[in-house]
Symmetry: C2
Subunit: 561 residues, 2 copies
């Protein structure tokens, strides 16, 4: 399968012969009548298939990563490949992933359906509108916006919302920088009350975070009602329920709440559902999708955004606690390239073998391994293989990991699909069957917000302590007033460093972190300490990806990545 | 079935037992493998099912109406009911309709899937996201917007577009008046170039008009490339193709171009596809959906927005000429209520029987009948029955119609479904089998824009002539420069009167119409003379419909209309 080097992801995906989705369902003992097909290769799964007794017996595997380079280290590719590998060694495994956002498909990032011979298909559909979940989330978000501005506009039914306090923004799943900062309601009395506003990209919507945190349809509706909008002129907090918005919003999400079934290139089941930001939100698929996966197979491979300091921490402390999920194994994805980067290589030197740099860069991986153990989980390191990796570098990593009692396994899913992932699959299964992993969250939600942040900063980031800006101290008082002390914290920090300073690579020490301000997602149920400037609406590059896309008269696409 | 009075539309729809969509397809001799199911009750039909030889043999029936009251006279309900009636008398008939817009569902208007016992189902899905077509159109529209603003922002690749000349607006399928008039690109150099902009509701997007005019996927792409955006600083016109946007936009529309199959309450086929505005656009479903209907059944019932002076005129002169479609029959929907209105009844008097008013109001229907005959089509009048209609009033209409050699038939689809529509079905079939209808367009596209407008104004509206504002005269020069004289005209006029003055009811005479300005849809392929202020983004009412909506824990919806 050496042609992975020569074929683009979309070419590999298009050469693949897909299995009808009813046959994928059938392999999972799901009746054709129980799924809602969206064409021949996508289906929605009803929530009634979630089965608590099966969840308990199944094995949840989290795929996370070391501190990444800007290109990412291949968590999705590794998750898909590991699932192929598990099935290859005779285990019934399903991969459960986030849905890609449409906007970045036309920007720099491109889609997010894996790569090479470790992809989920139909790749084009997954990267485009898929089953309409993002669009439904967008509509629910923007209905609430329209209801807010309509309430301000009309004299009767008016709640007295102070337009200057509104924190709820509109969203659009498009890389559109011109919508970041806008003025709405212009043009006279018929067109609303003028005020500042802006659009975020759809994955940054709290509705997305809510959908991913919801335990049931009932819970979804309640969470939607709990969304904080702003204050009245006399400082009363206003929630979505005050606008009687939660039923209409839930109506718009009646199908979006159902997890989506697709397949991997090797015809194994993939559930793809929800895709919240990994900085201002939890960065992992819906709780319902994870539970669905656990209900229909013996092994579930899932992932969380960015490095383990962000993705795994939130996955374990927020999602697992909230959803009562107990991961049995943890895979830490590393690339030799990223280790060189942490060892001081410049971007131009990423592909140059250099054991000294890799050895120095290992400090980053070492800290992540230590962190995983703090959750009671001994990780397996997956070295996502690149052609430029040298044997010396790989052996070095394996030796250093072995000293920490951790297996480091070469993962060749990109080039070889499941065949290249059986070693990793065996290592993961052996870790689970060893039975030593006992998941424990890092903190108790009952701690104060400040205590929770301190815990994460010291234990996970390795910081000496936490400083708070004046704004953050004010915000903490607001959090108190609104009664949000018991919520978990969803850290919004750069993914490029353990610290909040993106230039500190490897394993920084002797630093403090700075909480600049807080946001809170009262619907989703977490408080967000903001440690830096967070991008919520990307832009397009000078030459947008759209310029190189092509679709022929029969609907065959090229140039999508 | 007297409970139609007591049950809401959604209650009737929910009590109905739907047939699996594969069985609906099977009745049409379409193989299950050839459709793309979206759940059990919706499917997309591939364009390969369109068959020119079958189209020629099938019978196209256009349902239009007299000049309506603000509530509308029930064209959709009549179209669906007539289809049930035709099937009841043994004819294979399909109804082909527009897709409802989501925004108005939360506003005053509500959904648009028929009413009473003449509905298409699943009503909730059709009125909500359906198969995602509107969302895809929205994304294609807004990708072009993002590409425009990105091009203005960046120095390299810059086309020199003058931001003040940009006519392309963003869209959102939401009633959101605060987005009508906005300023974008604020907040510093990273956030784009500040300029005035605004959002229209999605049905007002030219992408919607294009999808509805497209003859094939190839044609769609070409039309998308032809969208006019604005001028450069040196007055060169800029089109979407100059931004290399048409492929990416077409990729976003790859599924949206396929017509959607659903069913009527009585299990007959319904194709629902596309929904452009009836004022600034053509107000009728896609050409491809109409051709699909004609390819799979012997009779196709379809409709066009507003009264016959707008909907039928555009349907016949733009859509039929462009798509080479030849309607065999025309149904003019009238209500006694609307005739009372044209005869001088106030809104409070709409339900009071009054033969004098109905007799005076008949002037309106009379003019519409005369107009239909100008297209070579002798209409059948469908009196959409209301409980407040008196026998005297009905007989009066029937007698007056008979004098014009036109049958006027009581249509009871709302209360009785197909059973109440067999008389109308018989009358329509007899009109078709009579063979006297010979469709001829009113004008030749080769006439000048002014000649085309004059033709419509005098022949259809009954105006004495046409006046042009200074702006309109300037715009006509622009139309000349851009080489658009050969396009048909898509009149943007009030639907409340034959004239451009909405207070002139019945059959006004001695008036002239005023063209204030022109717009042009170079992608869709028509020039739009604007005769009044056109609403392109509705608002929500003081108490939005969303406040009364409810969805239970099992996903059952109430309060949707």
């Amino acid at each position: 399968m050496a042609d992975a080097k020569f074929l683009s992801d979309i070419e590999i995906a298009q050469k693949n012969v897909m299995t009808h989705i009813k046959d994928i369902a059938s392999k999972l003992s799901i009746d054709e009548d129980d799924i809602e097909m969206y064409g021949k290769y996508k289906a929605k799964l009803p929530l009634t298939l979630i089965d608590q007794s099966k969840i308990k017996k199944s094995n949840l595997i989290l795929v996370t990563a070391l501190t990444p380079t800007p290109a990412g280290e291949g968590k999705t590719t590794t998750s898909i490949g590991l699932t192929e590998g598990l099935n290859k060694i005779g285990k019934k495994a399903t991969v459960v992933l986030r849905e890609p956002s449409l906007g970045p498909v036309f920007g720099i990032k491109g889609g997010a359906a894996g790569g090479g011979y470790a992809q989920v298909v139909p790749m084009e559909d997954i990267n485009l509108h898929f089953t309409g979940d993002f669009s439904a989330i967008e509509k629910a978000n923007n209905l609430l916006s329209a209801l807010i501005d309509n309430n301000i506009q009309n004299k009767t039914n008016n709640l007295g919302i102070d337009p200057r306090t509104i924190v709820w923004k509109r969203v659009m799943d498009m890389n559109d920088r011109s919508l970041r900062d806008i003025t709405i309601g212009l043009g006279g009395t018929a067109n609303g009350i003028p005020r500042e506003d802006g659009f975020n990209i759809t994955p940054a919507s709290e509705v997305m975070a809510i959908l991913c945190m919801a335990q049931s349809f009932k819970d979804l509706k309640e969470k939607l009602g709990n969304i904080f909008i702003g204050f009245t002129f006399d400082r009363t907090p206003i929630y979505a329920r005050d606008l009687k918005a939660e039923n209409a919003m839930a109506i718009l999400l009646k199908d979006a709440i159902k997890p989506n079934l697709v397949q991997t290139l090797e015809g194994n089941p993939a559930i793809i559902h929800g895709g919240p930001f990994a900085n201002i939100a939890q960065g992992t698929n819906t709780i319902l999708a994870t539970k669905m996966g656990l209900s229909i197979s013996d092994y579930v491979v899932t992932e969380a955004g960015f490095g383990a300091d962000l993705g795994a921490e939130k996955f374990l402390n927020i999602k697992c606690v909230s959803g009562n999920l107990k991961p049995k194994a943890l895979v830490l994805v590393a690339t030799i390239r990223a280790l060189r980067h942490h060892g001081g290589a410049s971007k131009e030197q990423y592909n140059d073998p250099n054991t000294e740099r890799v050895s120095a860069g290992f400090a980053n991986l070492e800290k992540h391994i230590e962190n995983c153990k703090k959750f009671g989980l001994n990780p397996v390191v997956a070295i996502n293989a690149f052609p430029s990796d040298s044997d010396d570098e790989i052996q070095l990593i394996q030796q250093k990991c072995a000293k920490m009692n951790v297996k480091a396994v070469l993962a060749k899913g990109f080039a070889n699909g499941g065949e290249g992932m059986t070693d990793l699959a065996e290592a993961v299964v052996s870790e689970i069957e060893g039975g030593k992993n006992k998941f424990t969250p890092l903190y108790n939600w009952n701690l104060s917000i400040k205590e929770k942040i301190e815990r994460i900063a010291k234990e996970i980031y390795g910081a000496d302590g936490v400083d708070y800006s004046k704004q953050a101290i004010q915000d903490l008082r607001k959090i108190d007033t609104l009664g949000l002390q018991g919520l978990p914290v969803c850290m919004a920090k750069t993914q490029k460093s353990f610290s909040d300073n993106e230039s500190l690579l490897a394993r920084p020490t002797g630093f403090r972190i700075n909480v600049r301000e807080f946001e809170f997602a009262t619907g989703a149920g977490f408080v967000i300490p903001i440690l830096g400037k967070m991008m919520r609406m990307p832009g397009l590059p000078v030459i947008p990806a759209s310029e190189h896309m092509f679709i022929d008269d029969n609907g065959k696409i090229s140039g999508l990545s």
